[in-house]
Symmetry: C5
Subunit: 301 residues, 5 copies
Amino acid sequence: MYYILLSTGIVLLNEYVDTIEFNIPSYTIAALGTALAIFLGFKNNHAYDRWWEARKIWGLMVNYSRAWTRQVTTLITTLEGEDDHSVRELQKRMVYRHIAFVNALRVFLREKLSYNKLPVNELVEEENTYRDARPFLGPEEYRQFVSKDNPPNFLLQLQGEDLAEAFRRGWLSDYRLIKLEETLVDFNDIQGMSERIKNTPLPRQYTFFSRVFVAIHCTLLPMVFVADLGWMAIPISVVVSFVFLALDMIGERTEDPFENKLEDTPLTALSLTIETNLREQLKESKDNFPKKYSPERGVVL
Amino acid sequence: MYYILLSTGIVLLNEYVDTIEFNIPSYTIAALGTALAIFLGFKNNHAYDRWWEARKIWGLMVNYSRAWTRQVTTLITTLEGEDDHSVRELQKRMVYRHIAFVNALRVFLREKLSYNKLPVNELVEEENTYRDARPFLGPEEYRQFVSKDNPPNFLLQLQGEDLAEAFRRGWLSDYRLIKLEETLVDFNDIQGMSERIKNTPLPRQYTFFSRVFVAIHCTLLPMVFVADLGWMAIPISVVVSFVFLALDMIGERTEDPFENKLEDTPLTALSLTIETNLREQLKESKDNFPKKYSPERGVVL
Amino acid sequence: MYYILLSTGIVLLNEYVDTIEFNIPSYTIAALGTALAIFLGFKNNHAYDRWWEARKIWGLMVNYSRAWTRQVTTLITTLEGEDDHSVRELQKRMVYRHIAFVNALRVFLREKLSYNKLPVNELVEEENTYRDARPFLGPEEYRQFVSKDNPPNFLLQLQGEDLAEAFRRGWLSDYRLIKLEETLVDFNDIQGMSERIKNTPLPRQYTFFSRVFVAIHCTLLPMVFVADLGWMAIPISVVVSFVFLALDMIGERTEDPFENKLEDTPLTALSLTIETNLREQLKESKDNFPKKYSPERGVVL
Amino acid sequence: MYYILLSTGIVLLNEYVDTIEFNIPSYTIAALGTALAIFLGFKNNHAYDRWWEARKIWGLMVNYSRAWTRQVTTLITTLEGEDDHSVRELQKRMVYRHIAFVNALRVFLREKLSYNKLPVNELVEEENTYRDARPFLGPEEYRQFVSKDNPPNFLLQLQGEDLAEAFRRGWLSDYRLIKLEETLVDFNDIQGMSERIKNTPLPRQYTFFSRVFVAIHCTLLPMVFVADLGWMAIPISVVVSFVFLALDMIGERTEDPFENKLEDTPLTALSLTIETNLREQLKESKDNFPKKYSPERGVVL
Amino acid sequence: MYYILLSTGIVLLNEYVDTIEFNIPSYTIAALGTALAIFLGFKNNHAYDRWWEARKIWGLMVNYSRAWTRQVTTLITTLEGEDDHSVRELQKRMVYRHIAFVNALRVFLREKLSYNKLPVNELVEEENTYRDARPFLGPEEYRQFVSKDNPPNFLLQLQGEDLAEAFRRGWLSDYRLIKLEETLVDFNDIQGMSERIKNTPLPRQYTFFSRVFVAIHCTLLPMVFVADLGWMAIPISVVVSFVFLALDMIGERTEDPFENKLEDTPLTALSLTIETNLREQLKESKDNFPKKYSPERGVVL
């Protein structure tokens, strides 16, 4: 990357400087050390927290998706003497629509925001479009779905309306209606929490200054080392700089977990797991299941 | 800022001092370093936690606002054979009043408290008045609303009374009434948690002393550096001081997330998102939606 | 305080010592630094956590008090054709008794425990007695209330009994009874959590040793500085000692948030806010509201 | 303790060594410092978290015990026209059995586990046997209770069966039955969380190595100090070692909060508070209350 | 291990180097120290958090398993005048199936994932196969169970279907059905949270770099020490390296708590505890209980 050039630039500079008699005492870097430790520790801890929270949220998605399917299939029941065909259809529609919701939310979250566009291309990338949700929605529903400002929220509204319909027909009691509505609220929460992480990057003041101060620190390093070490200062300051730059870079990469990067929360793999689990719960034949996710070049997206 | 003057002041002082033979050993700053690290780490971590908690609370506002709208539109139902016009009206009134609640809470939180008034003007500022809530309330309701000690709480009380009314008319069962009431409690929580962050600044002892100790540290810095470095002490101690002052300043700016500053939780943008989402759920025509929020000079308020 | 005497004592001692040839190398303090950082960081972080948790708990008190009032006024309803006078009275009694509960808990928490008595007097103090709860309780109820081992818990028991009475009269359905009971459990939680913080100080081993080690450290400081700095050691070691003593003191003061100190959680101000909000919800005339809390000498208790 | 001997051993060794010309540079300890800070910070923070979590869990026990008593006395009601004697008896039996549960759990948690037996005797000890639960259980129930593998869980099962019985008799509606069952689940949680802390000590790798590395560090200390300080190295390295050993010891003592040690969570005091509160709620006469807990030699168990 | 060879390699290298005049100043390691502290602190804290979270999740499993058994045995009741034989059978089947679920989840979690296979063999290992669940399931059920993609989830779906069946027969009211369904959702959560920890290792960037940087640091150590210490550098740099390598290794071992390692969450012991407790609640005779778990060589798996 660009930083290796920088480091070698510093080292070359350092050689010339060698003639200009440079002796900055070591405690200058020590004094900076404290501030750097706070900045880098802060950045890495909070970046990891965001990444882990994103993973937790999608873990909840897995749990509640399974629960939703169980609830839809066991709590919505026919009335005495009624044919259960239409109930079955409703159940299947609601589970399928939920699979569509999962895919829609994934696509919604992986949209590129302007301030997150990275100039570099990722090793492995994936296309995410709302077309993934098409097999799970009726054609008219799909048409409306893609035209909405917030497509996943639209699907939750539809689920709520289907529940109200089932209640009107007598397939749900008051109380079972509410239980299913509560599970929908959990999906509201999952969507909202994901959007929060997506739309609220770490405060720019922290990420910007941490990069600046690492640069300052790494610029001072060879100036300090050259006095005692001469030519040996080159490899050692490169190594030490590398450690700090790595710390800064790692935080940067982990920070935004919904940007289609290698380090992303594996939304695609999780979506497939959910789809497989739910169809197993619907007692569909195994042959129609999507293929297992096979990581490409060791990367799980 | 004022701190650059201070630093140059120190440097100038340092030059004069140069003649008075100054050699304070470096371990004096090292000894202070530990204490400073604790103070600054503390301040920055807790300031960030406050900022992030504020963002989380308003994320909940987004989630529950969507859930509230779904619940109001699907759980309040007409009795057999009754005209559903008046139910529709009630549903719309309750959703609109909720939009008013969101705006009212935003204004309530951004009121300037005396001990938070900053002497400097922000780059971008926004007016926040209760007038933003007017289009969503009836005229009589609005009149009462502005005269209250705690306007957002007044709106929640009204919502509760409307629910009781719907229950009396038979549009809500006992159980669905309680579910909607529980969502109102969630809004109580959101309001209360926001007020807590607004009204309880970080303990003054921490913010005050952290500023004092950074000042002490930065005053000692050039005194130490001058012995070994001579004139070179000027740029280096400015750079090092800058790092510490920046750490202190960043904490200060992030600390209070409801003060109409650039680093604020983006209440205005979130209010608009909520308004758009809710009206989409009410199936209103897209033409009446508020305009998308366009960040001014890269700032989202 | 007493610590300034100590510091000057050390400095005076240091002068005499000056003649006895003192040269302890600086790494002795550096070696202690690690341990001190752990101790002081630990003490300050956990003291702050306690203070902030106390504030959170009383934030919940605000939220649930508002919710309780809304629930009492909207969920307890008359039967068809019944006069609503007695229901109104019950509602008012239950809300007033809640205000009494808030005041009682405040007084209960601010009682001085023997092991927390400080020898120094606070700048601003406030009397806290159960008399503050008198206007909100009937005379017989008040008499019993003050004789109890745990007065706030007694009030919650009374609320529960009033709910059972309302249920017996048919003003509450089974389900609405439980919802109100659940809100009472929230108040049980708030009381219990406050008592936990009140009755469980930070483990003595941490607070005691942190003070001892700061003392050791500050005693060693001038001994180290005197070798290189001579007379200059006096101001510098006073300054450095001051920073560490301040860190220790701040933790000490923040640690116990229910002791009627300046840094306390502002229970009095919060009680007044709750009283005003609840009476506004009861639609009482503004003239009877308690006066706004006016901070005395910038202190909010 | 044994560590003072060790320190003096090191010091004595140091004297002999004095003749063998020892000069290890100070940065060797500085290099170890980082690792030690991580270990000791880790140990102390997590030990404290365990201790505080244990206190929180038993705080919940206090809250829910009060709520349980209120619920048992207000939610279990007689049918129209029925004598309320047998209901009263059931209520009293269930509250008493709960007091037995609290005592049983305390005893269950304070059983000595083989890997926690300490060779030293505590200053103040207390006997904990299931006999404390006898006055609150019927004789037959008590006999079965002591023979069980998990006595507290047995009591919760009995409570559940009594609730089912009350439901069968019509004293509880479906809905109130469930509310009481939910409170029992809270007690399941409290028991399970306490058992988790009891049965899962901090990973041995952390506690063992932290002790080893403190020993290594303290062994190196006098070797480093002796070069510059001569005989003066003895007191100073003793003091510094003491600080580190204290840090390690404190963590060790706080770590397991259910072992009948001085630093334990005060289960006995809390059990007495619960007993007093519940009997007050049952309106028993004050004369039968257990005596207030009087701390012995300043220790609350 | 391999690291001891490395260290001695470094030391041997060091001896040769001794002739090549090596004097790297000590502040090079100090500069690296900050970065290392962040990396190692990060790794160890988060590894421990994962381990402790896993333990917490399985603690919940214990709590809810007990609650599930109580609920199944007390909330599913016969209708007036009906024989309770078939209800008893259903209750027993549902509790046994739950034991099967616990065992199935344990086996599911301990499957070896390709990227977690360690080359070394553990001291004590245990076979985990689905056969452990056989005694608790009917033969046909067992056959289907092993053929599923996600066997534990299949069992939860069956539990849900049995509940719906009991509801249809009138053994459960609407409301009690939902309470039991809610407990099933808790098991969904437990399974999903365990899978999250199993399938999401710490980000590779952190674990990989922390190992690399420890290696760099330990390589520099003897180079620095040799200048001042000569031959004495060998033992001292081995000791210091050992401390850092140990810190790194401990994090590595604690990180993945479901891999059949010695440091694992003790799933086997917990499964046995659950089995014993549940059968005690079913009032089975003690003779059929599984044998108490006896730790092998001090290891609890």
